[in-house]
């Protein structure tokens, strides 16, 4: 039996990788991938918790997260395609329509 701490450490590492990718990557597609990684880090926590307590609630939640993630990626990719069509680039530095 792998102790809970190990799961949490792996999940923490995954989350941090995802977060850094989210904040630092220039490519919009990789930013979306980073978000997926963060979501999966969270999923790992849910599963670990579920196994520890013998409760299926955590697993169910993980499925929900996957569904939401799929939907989110769909929209995210659509936005990426539209942006590419508009300015032939998916560099996040060049997306600054909200500049005040």
């Amino acid at each position: 039996m792998i102790p809970l701490t190990h799961y949490l450490i792996v999940s923490g590492i995954l989350f941090s990788i995802g977060l850094l990718g989210l904040l630092l990557r220039r490519n919009l597609l990789l930013v979306l991938l980073s978000i997926e990684i963060m979501l999966n880090a969270a999923n790992l926590n849910f599963i670990a918790g579920s196994a520890l307590h013998g409760d299926t609630g955590g697993q169910v939640t993980a499925f929900f997260v996957m569904v939401v993630a799929a939907a989110e990626v769909t929209i995210g990719l659509a936005i990426a395609v539209l942006l590419f069509r508009k300015q032939s680039s998916v560099d996040t530095r060049e997306i600054s329509f909200l500049k005040g």
């Binding site: 904040l23 530095r93 997306i95 600054s96 909200l98 500049k99 005040g100």
Partner: protein, 639 residues
């Protein structure tokens, strides 16, 4: 029944004013007819009240009142109502009666004026405001109509607003009376305070009169309250030192002057004094101030009339002087004499003004020297009596009545006031007597110069000028009616109507020729004959041949420096204060406070705007930092 009629009388002029200004602005003829008909109806209704009221008087009922609740504020309750007694009846007769004649005269006098309909709308509104004062049953209501009279006089004095002098005069009248009104509202507020302290929430005359004795207001405050209200009277009735607006108000059309001087505006002050006399009675020192103000006004105004060359200004100062008599009578606790003189004065002063209007209509000039020169050229002495017989004879009657020659109406009313004065302090009586002399003198001057100049062949005769003629029946009829009233007015039972309590019939109205009457008659005759003698052959001002008169003449020309002092005070005090206030407002309030706040906000926004980079990852970073910080703060305590 009386009260219903009173409400209708109050409403009629308002109705005509509204109808004219809504529908008849483009049909002057109909406007004139409607206005005159409205006034005539009001006058007829008022006349129908006389027998009803005298019948009630016989049964011992003197006051009728009907009121609608209007405002409730805490314990204070204001009504809107009608208060009817003998005083109201007399004033209603004067206002609607003189009003009808002035309306009739105006239909001819104003013919062809582009503002004809507007004139009648304003005139109706003016009458409505005055009737509101006459019928008001509480202090606040009277104040509201008081202000409406001020407003409508502004509209009428400045009726020919394209003339700069008319605009200035209208403004002056409005502002000067406003000074008095400020005192009046302060007086009313002070009284309200004491009434509230005494648990009287009503400002109705009956309630105030009933509560006043039990309030025990300190002497000092009572005097202050009375003088505050009296200040309103000083403004409206043109007493010294607020008399300066009335002569200037001559810029309005002449029938308006007749209405202002005889029946409406200036009469409002006297009426208010009589209506709330119970307030003044409570303060003997205030009464003394009132009596002296009246006496001084009577004298000063009469002396100013001596040097005027404009026929309307002479009459204006004469009005101020006669108002001084009325105020003096009220100050001497003789309200009856004051109102009696007000009524008689309304007859002969309206007559004189309408007569002056008729002369101006014929001569196209207001200067008495010009008029005299024209008469000299046309045919000399008595020429006017042939050319304009109605105007000339009625003017003569008005002049004699104003001087107080028996048996004309002015004699009886003036005698009553002089009798009251003779029982008071000697200097006051002397002032009143001198004024009788001066009144006769300026009347003699006016009459001699205009009607009796010698024929001079050398005078330039302008053959192209229209011959002098009367102004048509609508102008002659009011003159004749007013002349009849000026002669027989004193036999109207005014004093019986005014009686507020049952009294034994007394024949005081005619007290025969006592020494007082002989004295005043001698003064009047001396004044008139002296003036007639001095001006009989004169073609230029008296001052040019009699050098002694140059200096006092100059003082009178400059109207005792009242206007100059006011100009100085206003330009030195008010204008300067206004300039400082302007600077204060411009910089301290607008520039620094309002605009300053705006600028701070704008520059803050400018700085904060830079935070919005538009780069989503930066927002993400800020969120992460923020969430981390929040988590740290909440978790730190737990670990």
């Amino acid at each position: 029944m009386i009260l219903t009629s009173a409400w209708i009388i109050l409403g009629l002029p308002l109705l005509t004013a509204v109808l004219i200004s809504l529908f008849l602005l483009r049909s002057p003829k109909a406007a004139g007819i409607l206005g005159t008909a409205g006034m005539l109806a009001a006058f007829a209704l008022t006349c129908s009240l006389i027998p009803q009221y005298t019948a009630l008087q016989q049964q011992g009922q003197f006051v009728l009142e009907s009121s609608l609740p209007w405002l409730q504020a805490g314990t204070l309750s204001l009504d809107f109502g009608v208060y009817f007694n003998g005083l109201s009846l007399v004033m209603l007769l004067v206002v609607t009666g003189i009003g009808t004649l002035v309306f009739l005269f105006s239909t001819a006098y104003m013919a062809g004026d582009p503002g004809y309909s507007r004139y009648f709308a304003c005139l109706s509104f003016f009458t409505f405001s005055m009737l509101g004062i006459v019928l008001a049953n509480n202090l606040i209501q009277i104040f509201i109509f008081w202000e409406l009279v001020g407003l409508s006089s502004y509209l009428l004095i400045g009726f020919w607003f394209e003339k700069k002098e008319a605009c200035t005069a209208a403004k002056k009248a409005f502002m000067t009376t406003r000074v008095g009104d400020a005192g009046m509202i302060l007086g009313i507020l002070g009284l309200t305070g004491f009434l509230a302290a005494g648990n009287t929430g009503s400002l109705n005359f009956t309630a105030v009169a009933a509560a006043l004795p039990s309030l025990a207001i300190p002497e000092f405050w009572m005097t202050l309250i009375a003088l505050g209200i009296f200040l309103g009277v000083v403004g409206k009735s043109a007493q010294v030192p607020l008399h300066v607006w009335l002569p200037d108000a001559m810029e309005g059309p002449t029938p308006v002057s007749a209405l202002i001087h005889a029946a409406t505006m200036v009469a409002a002050g006297i009426f208010l004094l009589a209506r709330v006399f119970f307030i003044f009675e409570a303060s003997p020192s205030a009464l003394q101030v009132i009596a002296w103000t009246g006496g001084i006004t009577a004298f000063l105004a009469a002396s100013l009339a001596l040097v005027q060359t404009d026929i309307k200004k002479i009459l204006a100062y004469s009005t101020v002087s006669q108002l001084g008599y009325m105020v003096m009578a009220l100050g001497l606790s003789n309200a009856e004499a004051g109102i009696f003189h007000l009524t008689m004065h309304a007859f002969f002063k309206a007559l004189l003004f309408l007569g002056a209007g008729s002369l101006i209509h014929a001569f196209h000039s207001q200067n008495i020297w010009d008029m005299g020169a024209r008469v000299q050229a046309e045919g000399g002495r008595f020429y006017l009596f042939k050319a304009m017989p109605f105007t000339s004879f009625t003017f003569l009657i008005g002049t004699l009545a104003l001087m107080g020659i028996p048996p004309l109406s002015g004699f009886y009313s003036k005698e009553a006031i002089l009798a009251a004065a003779s029982h008071s302090e000697a200097p006051l009586f002397a002032l009143a007597m001198i004024t009788v002399f001066l009144t006769a003198f300026y009347n003699g001057r006016l009459f001699t110069l205009v009607f009796l100049p010698a024929k001079r062949s050398s005078a330039a005769h302008d053959a192209h000028a229209h011959p002098l003629h009367e102004g048509g029946p609508a102008m002659v009829l009011p003159l004749v009616i007013l002349a009849v009233l000026s002669v027989f007015g004193a036999s109207l039972p005014v004093k019986e109507w005014l009686a507020a309590a049952p009294q034994a019939a007394h024949g005081a109205a005619h007290h025969g020729f006592d020494s007082l009457a002989i004295l005043s008659l001698a003064a009047a005759a001396a004044g008139f004959l002296l003036a007639a003698g001095l001006y009989f052959k004169r073609t230029q001002s008296l001052r040019q041949s009699v050098k002694v008169l140059a200096a006092p003449g100059k003082v009178l020309d400059r109207k005792y420096f009242f206007d100059e002092v006011y100009d100085r005070v206003i330009s030195g005090g008010q204008d300067k204060a206004a300039r400082y206030a302007d600077v204060l407002e411009r910089y301290a309030f607008v520039e620094w406070t309002v605009n300053g706040l705006g600028r701070i906000t704008r520059s803050l926004g400018d700085q904060l705007r830079r935070l919005q980079t538009g780069i989503v990852q930066f927002y993400g970073f800020v969120i992460v930092v923020g969430v981390t910080a929040i988590l740290y703060i909440f978790m730190a305590g737990r670990m």
